[in-house]
Subunit: 294 residues, 2 copies
């Protein structure tokens, strides 16, 4: 069991190992041919810290604050107004990935990035990754990826799973750090997606969002569109992951119950925790199942 | 040079081997790290026979003929009318993948497959693959994949390229046979794409076409959306491949000049052949460069 060394030898780890053994045992009753071994993971709160808000919003809100500085008239308009005034209800909706709040934000994205080249966007994300620190831990967000989850991704890959991340967050945002951080190629990153126009020999971002948000039922929809399959193994941590987890043969739900080492909260996760009981998903207690968090 | 054994030792083969050697030689001036080794290939006319028309249209037109039989009133409407009357201009547009004709066809697809499950669609495609024969060769279409191209896909994969197919044809249609025919996973197939709705625990096709057709500029757009990159190596055979080929570092254009072993035609390929001269692409003569075709 040395592959998952940051996991305590409790029920969750045993369930993962048993499932992977069963689907990779040739001739066994649960054997899954390698072609079908697709694993999908949510990102925010599943692979890295999502408190006090999903990291990409920190990136976006800083960009919008710069825009208000350049054009103060924007301060009277949403979502700029809510950000400047630190509107509590708005930030609550952001923290819980409330689909309506997320949709409002997505409508504002085109104003900021329409016409941007992929290279320019990547440079902005890299600068943010390098310089901005998460408020509780005082380190860049990319250092707050959960070590036990990285071990799990590697363990699945070692057993011929193709690992994908499927997040409601921006596909292009995640693709900037996917390869160096998760060890998965950009094409294995699925998320809410801007359109692009190929013109004069290069790509420019448009103001479209293609295929809807990768939240709730949008997760299996985006996963099928990208991979042609539904997952054999899926991991999530919130209500917006329910459909993805329900579409998989093995579902893992991460419970944030570790106030000391990370955060303890069930907001926006109550329904998924109830569903885990109902459908016998494997619930991972950050506090009890993980030897180390980062 | 044994990997490409169906290729004659002429300039095209040499150019391919030289390029792959250059980008895989660590420390060399043209070295490309494995993460960036994305290769993309058109399908119709590049990986398999596209005459007398792209094979998927045979599949679609048979479906529509069945629909007319069930509901004769459809015979008065396009595109059913053109098919029943064997309208020459219409079939010319189909054969050349004329974007307007293809767009008309795509508008008709939803009528036939909206509300279909992926499993039901796959069963229809498999039945067609098994039973229908190409008129000139008298064998199922899937036996008319070019052997030299299969060797090329395998050669690139052996050099850590991730190989994708990007066709104006239907993504889900190609995904049915991609793994057994090309040796690439479903997620490496890019094409014109229906929407899907996840409802009651399953997926149903909608009447949307997401992200536009994967033709012309739509090819690099779809490739970037799926992979996060533009190709290092690309292969095509027609005018609708120009933008994809121009976006790659190495471009291969297949010329159909072998009336005896396949077909000889330049229709819908004249501009791409001119572009090949202008931009110094590698042109493959089916007649002279290939020892065997199938």
């Amino acid at each position: 069991m040395s592959e998952l060394e940051s996991w305590n030898d409790h029920a969750a780890k045993t369930a993962i190992l048993d499932f992977v053994t069963a689907v990779t045992t040739a001739g066994g009753p649960e054997f899954a041919p390698p072609a079908g071994r697709v694993a999908t993971f949510d990102n925010d709160g599943t692979l890295w810290v999502e408190q006090p808000m999903p990291p990409q919003f920190d990136f976006v809100f800083r960009k919008w604050a710069e825009e208000v500085e350049a054009d103060p008239s924007l301060a009277a308009r949403e979502p700029y107004k809510a950000i400047i005034e630190q509107d509590a209800a708005f930030f609550e909706g952001v923290a819980t990935q409330d689909p309506q709040v997320v949709a409002t934000l997505l409508q504002a994205f085109p104003r900021s990035w329409s016409g941007t080249t992929p290279e320019a966007f990547e440079a902005q994300v890299r600068e943010w990754l390098r310089t901005i620190k998460q408020p509780k831990f005082g380190v860049p967000y990319v250092q707050l990826v959960y070590k036990p989850m990285l071990e799990l991704l590697a363990y699945l890959q070692a057993h011929e799973f193709r690992v994908f991340v499927c997040s409601g967050g921006g596909r292009d945002f995640m693709r900037v750090f996917a390869e160096e951080t998760w060890g998965i190629h950009k094409e294995n990153v699925i998320g809410s997606a801007a359109g692009y126009e190929y013109t004069d020999g290069g790509l420019l971002r448009t103001d479209e969002v293609l295929g809807g948000l990768a939240l709730g039922p949008g997760k299996p929809e985006h996963i099928f569109a990208q991979t042609g399959r539904l997952p054999l193994f899926a991991g999530g941590n919130a209500d917006v992951d329910i459909e993805m987890l329900a579409s998989a043969r093995f579902a893992l739900l991460l419970a944030h119950d570790d106030e000391d080492r990370e955060y303890a909260y069930t907001k926006a996760a109550d329904k998924s925790l109830a569903k885990a009981t109902e459908l016998d998903w494997t619930v991972v207690s950050m506090k009890n199942d993980w030897v180390t968090v980062f």
